[in-house]
Symmetry: C2
Subunit: 160 residues, 2 copies
């Protein structure tokens, strides 16, 4: 069983290399980007401008599919964790998601802040972010607890 | 350009048909499900039990790829919106995401509540939900504003 997906557009950012790219959109508030949707899908953007945030689903295409380990040292820790307990880019299916703030939508282009992806990243899907659907009251964040505010860990290094 | 993904597991739920299935995990708190990860990926679950919530990325596989419209009437409105401004299951790439609450992890199985997907849905990826990464301070939710608490719209009808 396999599924074939084609990009609906590409993300343009100033992040040309993995090293130095913010590791999360919440650490990239000053990094702006542009999601350029192919013209054939442009009509699908109708009414998206009413939402302050969107979920971008994209491919970590600088990593070859199949190039992953089940135990990884993520950017934010020096201990190994199961890949599904991390947001590491090398995964069994190299899919990434980021919740970003919409600044403006113009024609087929969504200008946003929170650009933690590499330039020319292929977009698979765009969904409106709805806190009532996508959030809950209380959370536990396992091994990440207490590491989230370590500012020196907010940009990618050489490990992926 | 195309990307090929293979399932890493399947979601087991009591939702056998589209009609009557909760349309969002936040409307499915009493619906439990089980994400069964293939044994070859089981090691990737290490340390996931520390997180109260996970992001499930899956395929709306009951809809044929290519069977979508760019303007759709979503469950929660009778007006048409761009497909990217909705969470409708028929999309250019039929990928779904749900944030669900982990109840227990046992061997290769994640028991969770918030099961808004159909039985035997193929899983593409699992990520830990981290509110500091996946949330922000203030939101606008466009056409959905004021419709979110309309309880009669919480289950799927015949429209997809």
């Amino acid at each position: 069983m396999k599924f074939i997906f084609k990009p609906v557009g590409f993300i343009r950012t100033q992040n040309r290399e993995i090293s130095g790219t913010p590791i999360q959109s919440s650490y990239a508030k000053d990094y702006t980007g542009k999601a350029e949707i192919m013209l054939e899908y442009k009509a699908g953007l109708k009414d998206l401008e009413g939402f302050s945030h969107i979920i971008l689903i994209y491919v970590f295409d600088r990593h070859r599919q199949g190039d992953y380990k089940l135990h990884v040292k993520p950017f934010m820790d020096d201990k190994k964790h199961g890949v599904f307990a991390t947001r590491a880019p090398k995964r069994p299916n190299n899919i990434g998601i980021s919740i970003v703030r919409v600044e403006q939508i113009k024609n087929n282009m969504i200008f946003f802040s929170g650009a933690d992806m590499l330039d020319n990243t292929p977009i698979l899907d765009i969904k409106p972010y709805v806190p009532e659907f996508d959030s809950d009251a209380e959370f536990r964040t396992g091994w990440l607890e207490g590491r989230i505010n370590l500012s020196e860990k907010r940009k990618a290094d050489e490990r992926f």
